[in-house]
């Protein structure tokens, strides 16, 4: 299936394609077009419009499109619930929602600045959300700090 949204993605329009490709439709194709062409192109190309006011897949209240995809497709992976709050916080400027939101926003905003090509940005974005997923699923309790004693400590044989 094709999915279409506005060009120049930052958070939700990178996070949703990741979510759709990994959990909803592995064959999904993503199109980015100027805002005013989204619905017209969606019709012509038979694509699902998303993350644009007026589309079914969009923001509802304080929830962003990422939240809606999770709800609609009944995705129950607990790691996704953790990522959803971070994405919502980063996407709606509510950095208080999750401690990781401000960092995700900074890195995503910088990527968007560095990659004028939306698809190149999506490719790297996929790796970032893969990383967030691995962190949420496997490494959330891992702590990292500098402890020279621990580093030079040798287990007695």
């Amino acid at each position: 299936m094709k999915w279409i949204t506005r060009e120049r993605p930052k958070i939700d329009r990178i996070a949703c394609p990741w979510l759709i490709k990994r959990f909803v439709d592995a064959e999904a194709v993503f199109l980015y077009v100027p805002k005013e062409e989204v619905f017209e192109q969606a019709r012509v190309q038979e694509a699902i419009p998303y993350d644009i006011p007026g589309a079914e897949y969009s923001h509802y209240g304080e929830a962003c499109t990422f939240d809606y995809v999770i709800r609609k497709h009944e995705l129950s992976d607990p790691a996704l619930q953790i990522i959803a709050i971070i994405v919502r916080g980063a996407d709606t400027g509510r950095f208080d929602l999750a401690p990781q939101a401000a960092g995700l926003w900074a890195i995503s905003a910088g990527l968007s600045h560095n990659y004028p090509d939306d698809h190149a940005q999506l490719e790297i974005g996929m790796k970032i959300y893969d990383a967030l997923y691995s962190w949420a699923r496997f490494a959330r309790d891992e702590r990292h700090s500098w402890d020279p004693d621990l580093l030079t400590y040798r287990k007695p044989k």
């Binding site: 930052k10 958070i11 939700d12 993350d51 006011p53 923001h59 209240g61 304080e62 962003c64 971070i86 980063a90 996407d91 709606t92 400027g93 950095f95 208080d96 401690p99 990781q100 939101a101 401000a102 960092g103 995700l104 926003w105 900074a106 890195i107 995503s108 905003a109 910088g110 990527l111 600045h113 560095n114 790297i124 790796k127 970032i128 893969d130 990383a131 967030l132 997923y133 691995s134 962190w135 949420a136 496997f138 490494a139 959330r140 891992e142 702590r143 990292h144 700090s145 500098w146 020279p148 580093l151 030079t152």
Partner: protein
């Protein structure tokens, strides 16, 4: 030049190579080896060892290797200086140092999980730090709202209609937001004037309405109480000195901290802490 460090990098051993390649030595070759081989390999490969204990390019007190490189090579680019506390916070598990530290840590920990090859990880890390740099340089003060009008409507709805429905029992949205803002910035100087600007609420209205929603405390009293509460919380962790605590709770200096603390608790911070840790 060759630079060598421990294998399985996470933060500092990715951020420091980025800094070296972008600002110090564009042709730098980065080598990752097991911890026990770093020094011997450094000697035989004629490489500079970094981010291990006992070498020059490493951690000093609270500062990480990234900080040392910034200092040693006199890097003054304000964007790099803005990145330093983010890297330091993520690297030393002090996520309170910068709001972006937790996110950088989560993404970096996940990348390290996904890429077993250290050089592949470094390649991806370079993209992340390039992005962080661009953000710090050009976009630090930009806020992202996906659908500004919808957000604005929602905000108006929350601010003007919701509170009426639950008058008395619940805080209005602005007070809730203010409470969170104070919580987030308890380590910095907070003025009613600035906060009211951020909330887009008239400062004299805010000052008048404040105590209704904050246990009858004035703005100043409430802030001081929050600071003292936070200080007591930090005291439970022996890793913090009282000087650090006074700094982290937004007091201008330790004697000011001691004075206010005694006023609220009747005890000196050091005595209070002793009793606290005894329990």
């Amino acid at each position: 030049m060759k630079w060598i460090t421990r294998e399985h990098p996470k933060i500092d051993r990715i951020a420091s190579p980025w800094l070296i390649k972008r600002f110090i030595d564009p042709d730098a070759e980065i080598i990752y080896v097991p911890f026990s081989d770093v020094l011997s390999q450094a000697a035989s490969l004629d490489a500079i060892p970094f981010d291990i204990p006992g070498v020059e390019h490493t951690h000093y007190a609270d500062e990480c290797t990234f900080d040392y490189l910034v200092k040693k090579y006199r890097i003054t680019d304000p964007a790099v200086l803005a990145m330093a506390p983010i890297v330091r916070g993520a690297d030393t598990d002090r996520h309170d140092m910068a709001p972006q530290a937790s996110g950088l840590w989560a993404i970096s920990a996940g990348l390290a999980y996904n890429y077993n090859d250290d050089h592949e990880l470094l390649d991806k890390g370079m993209l992340i730090y390039d992005a962080l740099y661009s953000w710090a340089r050009h976009l630090q003060h930009e806020k992202h709202t996906q659908q500004p009008y919808e957000h604005l409507l929602l905000e108006m709805f929350n601010r003007f209609f919701k509170p009426k429905q639950r008058e008395g029992s619940h805080m209005p949205a602005w007070a809730q937001e203010l409470k969170e803002m104070i919580q987030d910035h308890i380590d910095s100087s907070l003025s009613l004037k600035e906060l009211s600007k951020d909330l887009d609420i008239n400062p004299s209205y805010l000052s008048r309405e404040f105590s209704k929603h904050f246990n009858n405390l004035s703005f100043g009293e409430y802030i001081r109480k929050q600071r003292i509460d936070r200080a007591i919380q930090l005291m439970e962790d022996p890793a913090y000195s009282l000087t650090e605590i006074s700094y982290l709770t937004g007091f201008s200096d330790q004697s000011h901290f001691t004075r206010i603390f005694r006023k609220y608790t009747g005890q000196n911070p050091s005595t209070y802490r002793k009793n606290l840790l005894k329990k």
